[in-house]
Each structure stands twice: as C-alpha cells, then as structure tokens.
C-alpha cells in the first residue's frame, strides 16, 4: 500500500509537471501567496480507474480486453489519460489505444478535452488529434464524446454513454453503449464511411469495497454498413457477442 502511494506520488509529480506545461495559463500559478499560506499545498490529485479488465469468451477466439482512464491535476485543469485495447488469449495485441489529453472544467458537470491519441495496434500505427467533452448528463448518464483527426487527415468520432444502476449499495449493474463513425473510408484500418460499429454492454459488478469490484457481463459489437462489408470480405463476422468476467478497480 505504502509502495503504491509512493509511486503514485512520483507519477503525480511527473504528470503534474506535464499538465502544467500543457496548460501555460494554469490557475494554480495565479493563486495569491497568502492563500497558499492557508492551504499550505492546494491539493494536486491523481486517480486511476481501470474500468474494464476482463476475459471475453466468444464463439471465435477468446480475448483479454481493457479500458482505463485517469487524471492528474486540480479542480479546473487536469492532465487526462486513457487506454483501451484487446489481446487474443493466444497471440499478440490486436488493438491498443492511448490518449493523453488536457481536460478543463467548463461547468459543474462538464469538461472539455483536447490532446492526442495514438493507436499502437492495429498497424499501421496511427496518431490522431482529439477534441471532445466528458461529463455527466442530466439523469446521471456518463457521457464521453470525441472527434478525431488522423495524421492522414481522416476524420472520425466516437460517442459513449454509461449508466450505473444501484441494485443494492454494493451490487451495481452498468449498461453502456458506444457508437463510432468515420467521415471517409480508411482502407488500412478496415473502416468504411459512415457508422462503423456500435457496442452494447451490460456488466454486473459487486463492490467488495468501492475501489474494487469483480464483475460479469455480456458485450455485443456489431459492425455496420461499409465497415461490415469490409469485415465480411476479410472473412470476419461483423457481429461479435462475448460473455465477460473481470475486475474494476481504482486508486
């Protein structure tokens, strides 16, 4: 525990420096010296949420998938990072995406975000500029919306929404939906124009403590339109149904 804390601290400082560099006009620098005297150290916070770390069982090849996000910063300005990906149980990583964003509070419930996304897999590796927003919509929907501009000037976007339903204080069911669109065909990445795919998921987790929850669930992805046709041409099934089991945890 102690070790984790120590390394977290180090990470905080590193990432904090980065975030300050990113946001030149940071509010932190503008604080009055006497105010600092009172607060001693305005807290620089850091957190990491591994939202999904799961085994997926499906008709074809089983895989291990992850989705995580975290941030370092203060109330207004944050350095935000996230990653998602998939690796077949037997075989090399097929998808691995990383995002590094500057995130700024614009209202109680919303942050605007901008930065870079880099996909290590699938190949060819692709770098994107990212702009988007993230927050909590009325009725407690967790929303992330992002637009991407690739190094090859391809434009795409992704919209995710999640919702937590408390069955009891510890048993939580989480439906989620995600939709991806592309403004043009990207042959190397097997993407068509228009809606690429939708994903629906349902995960039932048990929060042993708030920070740690094993879960089971089901996820269904369906490629659509041109993207589905491309998949079929490659002998792939455009639809993917998987049962999942994993853990969700955060620091």
């Amino acid at each position: 525990m102690r070790l984790i804390r120590m390394s977290l601290h180090k990470a905080m400082f590193l990432a904090g420096a980065l975030s300050l560099a990113l946001s030149a006009g940071s509010a932190r620098a503008a604080e009055a010296p006497d105010a600092q005297q009172f607060h001693e150290e305005p807290p620089l916070l850091a957190t990491l949420l591994v939202d999904q770390f799961e085994h997926r069982w499906r008709d074809g090849e089983n895989s291990v998938d992850w989705e995580l996000e975290g941030w370092v910063g203060g109330d207004t300005n944050k350095f935000w990072f996230s990653s998602r990906g998939s690796k077949p149980v037997k075989g090399a990583v097929e998808e691995a995406e990383f995002q590094f964003l500057y995130s700024r509070m614009v209202s109680e419930f919303w942050d605007i975000q901008a930065g870079v996304r880099h996909d290590v897999r699938p190949q060819p590796q692709t770098t994107y500029a990212v702009a988007g927003f993230k927050g909590v919509a009325p009725y407690y929907f967790d929303v992330t919306a992002q637009a991407f501009l690739s190094e090859d000037a391809n434009v795409s976007a992704r919209f995710e929404v999640e919702y937590d339903v408390l069955i009891t204080q510890k048993l939580v069911i989480q439906p989620l939906a995600e939709i991806s669109v592309s403004a043009q065909r990207v042959r190397e990445l097997h993407l068509g124009r228009g809606i690429n795919d939708i994903e629906l998921g349902l995960r039932l987790r048990y929060e042993v403590v708030k920070e740690f929850a094993p879960y089971v669930g089901v996820t269904w992805e369906r490629k659509l339109g041109e993207t589905a046709d491309i998949a079929r041409q490659h002998g792939e099934d455009p639809s993917d149904l998987a049962f999942v089991a994993g853990v969700r945890f955060w620091f």
Partner: protein, 582 residues
C-alpha cells in the same frame, strides 16, 4: 493550569520557558506588551500521538498531550500567555474559536499577519479575556483538527454567573476517522459520493413504488436524477467514530451527580464534519447559553448542533438511575454517547436510533422559487415531497415501526424549518426532520434570546449577501460561486453596523463561522438577538445576521465543515479602519 504533556518533559518545559520568557520575567514581547500583567501562563506542545477509542488504537495529533486537548479554565479579565510548540513535521496553528482578541492572536495562518507555526518553533499567544462562557480551540491548519487538535475553553465570568450549577462538565463532541484528512479529501474529490453508503437503490425503488405508487416514485427519482443530485446526501464523510471527550460509546464517558443537583453541561461540537442531534432521554435540558453567550433559559428535549457551535444546558437529574446523553449524526451512521450517573460504571439504556432524513425539494430552495430550475413545476414538487417523505420509512434503520413513523411525520421542529423564526411553523420535513417525537420540544434558533440587551441597536447600514454555493459532484465548495483563492474579500468599515444575508443554494447545511466578532442572529428577538460565532444555515434556506464591525482586522469567514473549508468555502472579512482625512 497544568497541561502536563506526555513526551514533553519538565526539562523541555524549562528550556522553553528560558527561551521564551515566562510570567514574572519581564521580557519584551515581540511588539510591545510585557508579560508583567500575565495571570495565566501555560505551555502546549503539539505532537503526534495515538488515541484508543473503544479498544481500537489509531493515529492522532495531541495538543498538550491528549485528545481532546486539556480544558483551559480561565477567568474573564485575565491576561493569558500560551506558548505553543510545534513538535510535528508540518506547520500548525491554534485558533481560539469564539474569543474576541487581537487579529494576530486569532491563529489563522494567512490572516491578520499570523504565520503558521513551523516544526520546532514555539509561538507565544498573548491575549486578555474579554468575555465569559464556553468556547473551544483547534488547529486552523490543513486537516489537523480532524486528527485530534481540539479542546475546550471555559471562561468564568468576572461577576456573578447568572447560571447556577452544582456540577460543571464539558462535553466535547467530535468525529474521529482512521483515515488521514488528505486521504479523505482526495476521495471526496475523485469519487463523488464515496462515503455515502445509503444511496437509493433499485430495491428501495420497488419498495417505495409499492407503497407510494409507481408514478410518484418514478417522478421523484427522475426529478433528483435530472438535477444530478442525491436525496440521501446528508453528510459527506462516513466511517467516523463519534466521541464525547475523546471517548467512544463503549468507553462511555461518565459525569457524576448527586440526585437533585443542578448539572451544567457545556456541550461543544468540535467535529470536523458532523452535525449532531443531541438528547438525554428522560431528562429535560434547559439551554442557558449558545456559543458561549448567555441566553434566556429555554427548556428543550433535544437540539441540533452545527459544527463549531456550543450549547450550555442545565439538567437536574433525579434518582440514581443513569441517564444517557445521546448524540446522533444527522446521517445516523453511528452515535456518540455519554452517561450521567451517581457513580462510575453505570450505563443507561441506548435509546432507539432515529431514522435518517431524506432531502426534499424544499432543501434545494425549490419551495421558495429562489432557484430557477427548468422543468420544475408545482405538480412535480408535490410528487417529490411525497416521495421523499415516504423515503424516510426505509432510512436504513432496522427496527423502525409505524408508530415512530407517525411521530416523524408530525415531528415538530418549528423554526428549524424556518430558522428566521418568522412565518409559519411548518412541521419538519427533509433535512430539518430530526425524528422528534410528538409532544417533544426541539430547540429552534427562534427560541434563542440573548440574556442581555444588545449594545448596538442601529439598523444595519448595508447588507452583504453571502451565497453558499458549490459543485457537489466535484467537491468544490464556494462562497458567492468563488473559491477562497479566487473570490474578493468582504470589506466593512470599522464601526459600521451591517447585515449579512446567507443564501444557501446547496442541499447541505453549512455552519458559517466568522472569526473575531459575534454575529447577532436575526431570529425575531428584537433587541435581544442571540450572539453567535457559528450560524447553521439549513439547505436551501436563507438566514441573516447583524453585526457591528468593531474588531479591525482581516478575519476568516468560512464554512466550519472542515472539507468544505479545505475545498474553498471561505473568504476574508476585512474590517477596515477609516483612514485619517488628509
């Protein structure tokens, strides 16, 4: 005064004394005051310690060797000198909560020229006691107050005390957690609702739907969800042990009496975050002072107590049966308990625990139409109130039966609902519902009447509006929408009479504390407004106070919930001397 501290040896004390110059030695005080006139001198060391509560030991910080810190018993008119030595490895401070004194002696770092006391340093406080009554002292640095840096101050009046008592006890209520304050604040900031283990669930929904009908329940849930707010958010932090004089419920701190004696209990809420409902089943309490200031006696069965407030009550226990002093936090996650008994070792019964309240739209200020909120019509509001009332049934309180439900619905906490004391005396709902049984009297702010007439009866020359604001989901708390380091200070000319109007736009109660001066609560008592250093402003409500700005300086003005203050709910209240005309 003999706060002999463990880990603070006599030799250390001597060294210290030599260095600082104690009573008798006429040493130049930094500034000009000599110690010749000193009536009371004491040394207090601040150091890490361990505290054992109900058999569990955890970390804490002690002032003068103990948690709580030693009770300081002084007399009005005395000059006191306190040498405070910091034996921590972080800066610290001591603030004398409720005392009228020169700004720099107030002990709030960053205000009035007071700098934090750095590790290894000794700071000498020196002030004359200009008042009598029950007060307290605590750290004003970081989260140290939460860790045990609090103690009581009892100042005997220079003249005859209007309150007669045979026994006189301090009961200092507090909340203790094994988590570090930094960890608590971090969790509050990174994970909304982290400490709330009584959120509304699907199970609750079906139960409510069965009782109140599906439509009403759905409407209720949708209205809260639309605003992204939580009707069960009564307290931000849980996991607390609730203490009386540093003792847990099983430790059972005991005060002794002889039957028929008048026992004065000086009850201080020295919690970091906890608002308490206090009662002594079977024993009526006569409130004789609030925030150290005498009030016309008022007989009550129970009272609600904001963080930082103090109430002195007189009780006259008869017979040799023990009485339980019972203090429940408003989110009902535990209780503090002490016993009044004729001898040690006796235990009174633990009373039935009260249900927790569920917030209503009125707690959001909706009922006053003060907060414009799209899509809220009257129909929806009615549905909401209904749903929320119903919600109380299942407030996570096993053993609740229908008879006590009835009591809750008709519970009378007049004035709490309407703290200005003006207007209708509605039955308590939502936040204000303490579960007071029918026929029982709960203290209301409207009942508090100063024992002495106000000295300054001028109409306030101007009004200062202080909106209590925040972003719950991010745990940012503000005044007038601004964090401490972003907002403008409040400026008042020396000698002016001003009104401060608190408008609580949040769904939490905020105990608002002004350093340096008393606020006179406008509760309808005309020329006898009670003098308060903390005013508990209920959610969604408006309250106002008057004051005469007769203490020049730059005073902290903040919510006394520790993590609200740490998150920005604070400003400077500057009393400016009129500059000489040039």
């Amino acid at each position: 005064m003999h706060p002999t501290s463990r880990g603070f040896s006599r030799r250390d004390a001597l060294k210290l004394a030599g260095a600082a110059g104690v009573a008798g030695l006429v040493t130049a005080y930094p500034g000009r005051i000599s110690f010749a006139a000193t009536d009371q001198t004491l040394d207090l060391a601040i150091e890490r310690t361990r505290i054992t509560i109900d058999g569990h030991t955890s970390r804490g910080i002690a002032i003068g060797g103990s948690i709580p810190a030693p009770t300081l018993r002084w007399r009005e008119g005395q000059e006191v000198v306190i040498h405070v030595t910091n034996r921590l490895n972080e800066p610290t401070s001591i603030h004398w909560h409720g005392l009228l004194l020169q700004g720099v002696m107030d002990g709030a770092p960053g205000f009035n020229g007071f700098a934090p006391i750095h590790p290894g340093e000794t700071y000498t406080y020196h002030f004359k006691l200009r008042q009598a009554g029950t007060y307290w002292y605590h750290s004003h640095s970081a989260g140290q107050e939460q860790e045990g840096m609090y103690g009581a101050i009892v100042i005997e009046p220079a003249e005859r005390d209007p309150v007669r008592a045979d026994q006189d006890y301090v009961m200092l209520l507090s909340d203790h957690t094994t988590e570090s304050p930094d960890a608590v604040l971090r969790k509050l900031k990174v994970s909304e609702g982290y400490y709330n283990n009584n959120k509304r669930t699907l199970v609750d929904f079906f139960r409510d739907a069965q009782r109140d009908g599906l439509g009403a329940t759905v409407t209720d849930r949708l209205d809260w969800a639309e605003m992204r707010m939580d009707a069960t958010d009564l307290a931000d932090v849980t996991g607390y042990q609730f203490l009386v004089n540093g003792k847990g419920p099983r430790d059972n701190w005991t005060a002794l009496y002889k039957p028929g004696e008048r026992v004065r209990l000086r009850i201080i809420n020295g919690s970091a975050m906890t608002i308490f409902d206090v009662r002594i089943p079977g024993l009526a309490m006569t409130v004789v002072a609030a925030d150290g200031q005498n009030v016309a006696p008022v007989k009550v069965d129970e009272f609600r107590m904001g963080v930082g407030e103090t109430y002195d009550v007189v009780v006259i226990p008869q017979g040799d049966k023990p009485f339980t002093v019972f203090a429940e936090p408003i989110d009902r996650t535990g209780f503090a308990r002490a016993t009044l008994a004729v001898r040690d070792g006796l235990e009174g019964a633990i009373p039935e625990r009260r249900p927790r309240a569920v917030l209503t739209m009125a707690d959001m200020g909706m009922a006053h139409g003060g907060m414009a909120h799209g899509g809220m019509d009257h129909g929806a509001m009615a549905g909401m109130d209904h749903g929320a009332m119903a919600g109380m049934n299942h407030g996570a309180m096993p053993g609740m039966d229908h008879s006590s439900m009835a009591g809750m619905d008709h519970g009378s906490m007049p004035g709490m609902n309407n703290p200005g004391g003006m207007g209708s005396k509605d039955q308590a709902t939502g936040w204000a519902d303490a579960g007071t049984p029918p026929g029982a009297k709960a203290l209301s702010y409207a009942d508090l009447k100063s024992l002495t007439k106000a000295k300054d009866l001028r109409e306030p020359a101007h009004e200062i509006e202080v909106r209590l604001t925040g972003m719950m989901s991010r745990y940012i708390w503000t005044l007038n929408g601004r964090k401490f380091d972003e907002g403008d200070p409040i400026r008042v000319a020396y000698g002016d009479r001003v009104r401060i109007r608190f408008v609580n736009e949040t769904m939490m109660a905020h105990p608002m504390h002004l350093h340096g001066m008393f606020m006179e609560l406008e509760n309808g008592q005309k020329d006898r407004l009670p003098r308060k250093h903390v005013v508990l402003v209920p959610p969604g409500k408006t309250m106002s106070v008057q004051l005469t700005a007769d203490e020049p300086g730059e005073w902290p003005f903040h919510c006394h919930l520790l993590y609200h203050m740490a998150s920005g709910m604070m400003t400077r209240f500057i009393v400016e001397r009129r500059t000489a005309s040039l």
